[in-house]
Symmetry: C3
Subunit: 312 residues, 3 copies
């Protein structure tokens, strides 16, 4: 199967077969990071631009390591140094980047839909590295890779996602992705953090962490944004931990071999206690490692093949 897509904007646009191809490719990319010489010449002479409007450690580091292990050249443009501060529009900036003939633009932006708007206007491939509360497809893909690696399949699993579902692009992309691959997804969180209409995306809603965890193959805890705590959405982090922090009791409701996941960075003692984050069921660091592999796979599939050789 050939991968003919120009951009990676969201999990919703990918077919199940495309997701399988991405994960298979990521599995073989992972091996490169275990070599003594962690580098292949596949993307030599390709230019990747990071265009990040929100601070990010791990996502940009993960892309950067992925790009360099494939021998691509990279340039980073952050919001603080960019012409955005001079009032230039997003589209103008994109057209200007495009004029320098990059092969891929990786964009993170606080506005939902920004990567889609850019993708329509540039020849370069666009990867959405997180747009507002909308989508974070590379996170969902690395999460699916991690579960498939540990469970052998994504079909017929029960995935519990717990936390601030309403404001999480990670939750949204994972609900769509896991559902598409044949898992069932149940979400739990404080009522103020459950968006109306989430069932239409295929997720079942429950209101306690124990109900979510029951018989789960995967318990995925979301990061609580401390700035969302307070009077409005939830009283305090202590209160949050009491009701929606992961507990041994909740874990005991899940399947014995359930995986504990978290997109990071974790708030130890708030949404997850240290001994579970560091315990034998936790695959949190596998998620980080697989993030590099998934991003290598996406870069390779988008620009490593023969499509662009003739086309670009």
């Amino acid at each position: 199967m050939d991968f003919v897509r120009k951009d990676i904007l969201g999990v919703e646009e990918l077919t199940g077969a495309e997701i399988e191809l991405i994960l298979d490719t990521a599995d073989s990319m992972k091996e490169i990071s275990h070599r003594d010489i962690k580098k292949v010449p596949t993307l030599r002479g390709k230019t990747i631009v990071y265009f990040f409007h929100e601070p990010s450690t791990r996502t940009i580091a993960s892309f950067e390591i992925a790009a360099k292990r494939l021998s691509a050249d990279t340039v980073s443009i952050s919001a603080s140094t960019s012409s955005i501060v001079k009032g230039e529009t997003l589209i103008d900036t994109s057209k200007n980047l495009e004029a320098m003939r990059p092969d891929v633009i990786v964009i993170r932006h606080q506005a939902s839909g920004a990567p889609h708007m850019i993708a329509k206007r540039v020849r370069a491939s666009v990867i959405n590295a997180g747009d507002g509360m909308h989508a974070h497809p590379t996170q969902a893909l690395l999460d699916m890779m991690t579960v498939r690696e540990k469970k052998g399949t994504l079909s017929g699993l029960r995935i519990a996602i717990v936390g601030d579902i309403a404001h999480s692009r990670v939750a949204r992309s994972n609900i769509i992705g896991f559902t598409k691959m044949g898992s069932s997804v149940v979400v739990a969180g404080p009522p103020t953090m459950i968006p109306t209409g989430i069932e239409s995306m295929g997720a079942k809603v429950v209101y306690s962490i124990e109900d979510a965890a029951r018989d789960a193959d995967v318990i995925m805890m979301l990061r609580i944004q401390k700035e969302r705590l307070g009077d409005f959405l939830f009283p305090s982090d202590r209160e949050y931990a009491n009701f929606f922090g992961l507990t041994h009791e909740a874990v005991s409701k899940a399947r014995k071999d359930a995986l504990i996941m978290h997109p990071g960075p974790i708030n130890r003692g708030v949404e997850i206690p240290p001994e579970i984050a560091d315990g034998p069921q936790s695959v949190i660091l596998d998620q980080v490692e697989n993030g590099v592999a998934v991003r290598m796979a996406l870069l390779y599939l988008l620009i490593g093949g023969s499509r662009h050789a003739s086309d670009n």
Copy 2:
């Protein structure tokens, strides 16, 4: 012809023959960015340091892409992270950079003459990427490349430059460069933004955009610095747009095939309306693309030849 210059500090020091050599070299460099593998080993093992004291997206990205497509190694030192904040003098910082044996130092600085001061004290080649209101030679070279590419020559053309001439290093470098290559330059802007003595640089001054545009082969709009608007230099951006924003009427005064240029980032609706910026006569994105080619050419001419092989 050999290029024997150590530094690129301003257009004024370049001969017409040197400018032609730079533009010819840039024309051939441009082709590299159109290849599938956009990289040649020409500057492998060369070290380029960016030393930027003013924020910049496009200039640093343009240099970075140029450097990497020639396989050079790069290190960026920005003012916020540099020892400047610890009170070290510019010369000390330069001598320290020099001790790490870079081949080129690319500097942008708010003080006019800073690159010249450094160039005298280091063995490395210095490229002025903009100093105060003084000079921006790489911008003038990419502008000349763009005009020559479209018009076939720089000789006998009429170039109109419109905007805040007094505070623009882009205007200053372009007046010198185009005049040197045989074009005639006319400038227009609010009286408060026309420097006294500009005629001595070879430019004719007019006070309306229509007069500037009349019979022009090129209309180059300058970016209006919003911080210069207000009581002192000009009342408001609306007022500015009314008097010195580009209009269809002004364009109609120019030659039919006149090029519309802007160094970016553009203020849509202030100095240039969207439909002209995006219209068929606009070469604004060509300017951006040619910026990479010109910077590749300069890096190659300064350090890619045999001069440094024996000398450095």
Copy 3:
């Protein structure tokens, strides 16, 4: 002799033979920076992560140039962009970096002992690029390299270190290093800037710069942190310069061929006058150049050999 150490955390843990091996290796690395093509493929496919919690120009630039001249791939994570701002613990951030399979983590942190804590928890090699007031081993090694290069030996020399000894990790690492290699170290500074118990590290304490300089082979001036001046530790920079700034008189007390050193960035006219900083005895810029060589040597010794080929 094989170098079998995993990390470089402090000079105290290195044997004299290990220090000699590092300096010998640095001597041969230095030659690479004098070549026309300043690059060898030694560390191709290795990943180096900079994890800096304090701003730094020269240290990170020096590591970056060192890494690139050895063909390593690098990723920089600064405190301002890192998850530290999101409240993640240092150990979590380290484990996350580790999951991306870097070969070396270079860390600078305001907390003494932070690099040691991380080194215990990751498989990657850790290099301490400065931790609080505790240690700065790469600075001490480049200082020893510079002295050995000029004097031919480190044995039997008299090293004077002058300034704010109490708050200087440079002083601390140099006292340990030079003493270990057979030099005698004398320190001088205002009484408020001499830590109690410094003699137990092998340094002799005197209270005037002339006494320190007497018969010295090396006078190493420390940078005065301007924020430490004021009522508490010392009245003013003028007062400081009067008592502990280097003078021609002090230099005249030292051996005729004494070296003048400073870790940079220098405060001209405070701890050192311009004519001495730029004079014939000054080796301040040699220190900077040797910094690149020492860092190349450390990267090579830690990950360039066969140890990691089988082990990692």
